[in-house]
């Protein structure tokens, strides 16, 4: 049984005294949750195929960090990226159409769940290779540095990535060249089916990060306000030339690693324990106790979100297949290979 950080105290809620903002955070998390729940159904009726990695339970990380970023900032995510995409502003329609492989998808149906891209919002996509996104983030930040552009590149990865060589190489490069990268580690205690204690000699990941002289904190990944607060401070420091920063968000996923994973490696008790710390009910309770969220408000929010999901499903199901004549397009730029 891994130790569990303390539950969010009501004081946190007070800190972000702007009630509307907190309601917004709740709505964003709820959108992600309902969207991914519907994905489970779509997958079981084969509308979504291939691999599907759900972030149900980890919504606070994506929403919290995205709130701390500006439209100019760049994002590099992983294959567990639906939440990050939606929180960054990709529409449910474009995202779900992509999951169903339709032309109307954000990557024209070529990427699928692990490769959602949106150039306008600088969402540089998921990545199917663990930790392969880290060097990209370093490069983006290097380009900013060389062109004197003031922005942050937020790079998401899981605890599994920490064991990859690229983690070491990227952290070292970012620190060595003092680059504006915000390393966001979503530590959900399992690298696919292997618990952290079986993969890392040093399980305190923020301690590991500090060995590169990179400022690093851990933060409760089940508390969206705590995540937002930590991310905002870190992003500010990075923006002001403080070099790379590292956030270790301790979180937990309530479903299997992917849609085809028997989840035998975690015992039910542990899952139930973490479910009690579900970030959505936690925030709902806190808001209703403060009298800013009535029963009716919540129901209205649920109904609106359900409608948004239904619309997205109808849009995706009605989506078209990209004509096979275009198979070779975009292998290289507007140039048809002879």
């Amino acid at each position: 049984m891994s130790e569990i950080p303390n539950a969010p105290t009501s004081s946190n809620v007070g800190a972000a005294d702007d009630a509307q903002h907190t309601l917004h955070l709740l709505r964003e998390m709820l959108r992600i949750r309902r969207f991914e729940e519907r994905c489970v159904e779509l997958y079981s009726r084969s509308a979504i195929r291939g691999f599907l990695h759900l972030g149900i339970g980890e919504e606070a990380c994506a929403v919290g960090v995205m709130e701390a970023l500006t439209p100019e900032d760049a994002i590099v995510a992983t294959y567990r990226e639906h939440g990050h995409a939606l929180a960054r502003g990709l529409s449910m329609r474009a995202t779900l159409a992509e999951l169903e492989g339709k032309l109307e998808g954000c990557s024209r149906g070529r990427g699928g769940s692990m490769h959602l891209f949106d150039a306008t919002s600088h969402f540089y996509g998921g990545n199917g290779i663990v930790a392969a996104g880290l060097p990209l983030a370093v490069g983006l930040a290097l380009a900013d540095h060389l062109q004197g552009r003031r922005r942050v590149t937020a790079c998401f990865f899981g605890d599994g990535a920490v064991a990859e060589g690229e983690f070491h190489e990227s952290m070292n490069l970012a620190a060595l060249w003092h680059l504006p990268v915000l390393f966001c580690c979503e530590n959900n205690l399992y690298a696919m089916g292997t618990a952290l204690r079986y993969t890392e000699s040093e399980v305190d990941l923020s301690l590991k990060a500090s060995s590169y002289r990179i400022p690093a904190w851990e933060v409760d990944g089940m508390d969206v306000l705590a995540v937002e607060d930590a991310a905002r401070n870190a992003a500010q420091a990075v923006l002001e030339g403080g070099g790379p920063h590292f956030l270790e968000m301790r979180t937990y996923r309530f479903r299997a690693h992917s849609m085809y994973d028997p989840d035998r490696y975690r015992d039910k008790a542990e899952i139930d324990l973490w479910k009690h710390r579900d970030p959505i009910p936690a925030l709902t309770t806190a808001l209703s106790e403060r009298g800013v969220l009535s029963e009716g408000d919540l129901e209205r929010m649920e109904t609106e979100i359900a409608a948004e999901v239904d619309d997205a499903v109808a849009f995706a199901d009605a989506g078209t297949n990209e004509p096979i004549e275009f198979l070779e397009r975009f292998v290289t730029s507007d140039r048809v290979i002879a």
């Binding site: 891209f117 392969a132 060097p135 690229e166 190489e169 002879a338």
Partner: protein, 324 residues
């Protein structure tokens, strides 16, 4: 006209690119203070400073991935991987990121990156430092693969490669750095699409690239004394292959030999032979011949290494066998 070395030509190309476009910067192991493992970047650090001539830690996946990221971020990076042998550590970044991002993103993200690598054997540096893997990379859709064999190409190919919105890999054969060639003061533009007919002939077409061009040309001279006129084609671009030039030649000579320093099985020469048999079957008057490296980890001993690498005599024998 002045006579300069292949190494000097590459250095001039780098210098010209750095001067013409301030988005260009060079990154790689020992490219700065050490001046480049093959002394290609000697002097660039002093002239352009450490921001644009960046020594990197020994982190091939890291700095190649960073090169890709910087290209995504609007720069025009030139990453030097010391030799193709070390590129294996960066193969995932090159294939799964650089080559695939434009396609996976449905056309949103271009990766205008150039990666330079030394390649090939001949310096008795043993199995791990003597690979010739251009054929591997030429297998990957999304990449453009160049093999400058002459001083003019070494000088001319870099700039158009930097203008290409997609990733370009340039393979410089290690044995070519010391070779010399003529170059005009204002070198003319070269393309990075087509093959070049380096020697005209009617009897046999010899296809070569990079380090094997010299071998092919020497063999052709020898064969000429036997009355066999060979046409020597320098591929220059290994992906996409300029099949038009190959077709035009082989449909005339009806015989083809490919000289490829890669291992025979699954090599670039295998691809060329397959395409010719598919597209020119009824023009062939003899089976396609391939002169490749022996399928061995490259031995250290000189006599063994020479035996393993395609030699002039191997090409002559292959042609003789074909024109009896």
């Amino acid at each position: 006209m002045s006579v300069i070395t292949y190494r000097e030509a590459v250095r001039q190309a780098l210098r010209e690119a750095l001067l013409r476009d301030d988005r260009v910067f060079v990154m790689g192991e020992d490219v700065g203070h050490y001046g480049g493992s093959y002394a290609v970047t000697l002097g660039l650090l002093e002239e352009f400073g450490s921001e644009r001539i960046r020594d990197t830690p020994l982190s091939e996946s890291g700095f190649v991935g960073a090169g890709i990221g910087a290209a995504l971020g609007g720069m025009r990076p030139i990453v030097e991987v010391m030799t193709v042998n070390f590129s294996l550590l960066a193969l995932d970044q090159i294939m799964n990121n650089a080559a695939s991002l434009l396609y996976m993103s449905g056309g949103q993200l271009n990766v205008p990156l150039v990666i330079r690598m030394a390649t090939g054997a001949g310096r008795q540096v043993g199995a791990q430092h003597s690979h010739s893997l251009e054929g591997w990379f030429a297998h990957i859709p999304g990449l453009r693969i160049l093999a400058p064999a002459t001083v003019a190409d070494a000088r001319g190919m870099l700039w158009p490669a930097l203008q290409d919105p997609d990733p370009v890999l340039i393979f410089e054969h290690a044995m070519l750095y010391n070779t010399e060639g003529e170059l005009s003061e204002t070198p003319e533009e070269v393309d990075i699409d087509t093959a070049a007919v380096r020697r005209v002939g009617d009897d046999v077409t010899i296809i070569a690239y990079g380090g094997t061009l010299r071998t092919a040309l020497e063999a052709a001279e020898q064969l000429a004394t036997d009355g066999v006129q060979c046409e020597v084609i320098d591929l220059r671009c290994l992906r996409p292959l300029d099949m038009a030039t190959i077709r035009a030649s082989v449909s005339r000579t009806h015989r083809m030999v490919v000289v490829d320093e890669g291992w025979r099985s699954g090599s670039l020469s295998a691809e060329i032979a397959a395409r010719v048999s598919e597209e020119l079957f009824y023009d062939l008057d003899a089976p396609v011949a391939r002169v490749c490296s022996a399928e061995v980890p490259m031995p250290y001993a000189k006599h063994l290494e020479d035996e393993a690498i395609p030699q002039v005599s191997d090409v002559v024998v292959a042609v003789h066998h074909m024109v009896t």
